[in-house]
């Protein structure tokens, strides 16, 4: 399937994947993230239940200390 991950096209060799699996697969290593799927905020505790399918738009943002 093909998804839009952080505004870039990304091919994934699966028909569907959970958001938690995608984060693992893409090695997003920062400890704190904000995630959205198709514009909807997905909090950490439901990332393993959020299913990503072909054509979905996924946003994975690192929270970076400093201000």
């Amino acid at each position: 399937m093909e998804i839009l991950l952080n505004n870039r096209k990304e091919s994934i060799d699966k028909d569907e994947i959970t958001l938690a699996e995608l984060i693992e697969y893409k090695k997003f290593t920062f400890k704190l993230l904000v995630t959205k799927v198709n514009g909807q905020l997905i909090k950490k505790d439901i990332r393993s239940k959020s299913i990503i399918r072909d054509g979905d738009e996924v946003l994975v943002l690192h929270m970076i200390s400093g201000g």
Binding site: N7, V34, L41, H62, I64, S65, G66
Partner: protein
């Protein structure tokens, strides 16, 4: 639009600033100079000497609460701007309560967990609000890496990767650039959508 037309359009606008450190103090001052009608400043910290390398305060304000000292500095620039201050640590309930009347919210925290808290609160619980977050501002140089990312009501300004550390400190130029880009985005959002 002329300077005066811009000031007129901004006169009834309210911007919430979550955190009055490097990002919040510089962003608030830029908005004050442009003529924003009202600022809501929230911060529970006191000013320390080490903050003066990047934050919009002065040496004789060390030991004062930042939100109150920032109000004073804004009023030295323009005493017609309404400034509401809260010396308190924000949590989700306070974010929705204190920023309920804001047109735009600025995320200007230092810590990653607080950044996450306010972004998730605004996106999850405040359906009509935009939030502008600063992410990635440590160090110096690399002007071209600083940019803006936009997804719905969430705007992220910064280089999206430079985390502060003892050998990668936040410094006035880069912090000021990101803070002023946040303020610049506020103007874009308020003046275009108005």
């Amino acid at each position: 639009m002329t300077t005066e037309e811009i000031r007129e359009r901004l006169a009834d606008k309210v911007v919430g600033i979550a955190g009055c450190g490097g990002l919040g103090s510089n962003c608030a001052v830029a908005l004050a100079r442009t003529g924003i009608g009202k600022l809501i400043l929230v911060d529970d910290d006191k000013l320390e000497a080490t903050n003066l390398n990047r934050q919009y305060f002065f040496a004789d304000q060390i030991g004062e609460y930042k939100s109150l000292a920032l109000r004073d500095n804004i009023h030295r620039i323009d005493d017609t701007i309404l400034v509401e201050t809260h010396v308190i640590r924000l949590d989700p309930g306070l974010v929705t309560k204190l920023f309920a009347d804001c047109d735009v919210i600025i995320e200007a925290f230092d810590q990653d967990n607080e950044k996450q808290m306010i972004i998730e609160t605004v996106l999850g619980d405040m359906p009509d609000k935009s939030i502008i977050s600063g992410q990635g501002l440590a160090g110096y140089g690399k002007n071209d890496m600083i940019g803006t990312m936009h997804s719905g009501r969430l705007y992220i300004v910064g280089d999206h990767q430079s985390e502060v550390s003892p050998t990668h400190p936040p410094l006035a130029p880069r912090v000021g650039i990101v803070a002023n880009m946040q303020a610049n985005l506020v103007l874009e959002i308020l003046l275009i959508t108005d």
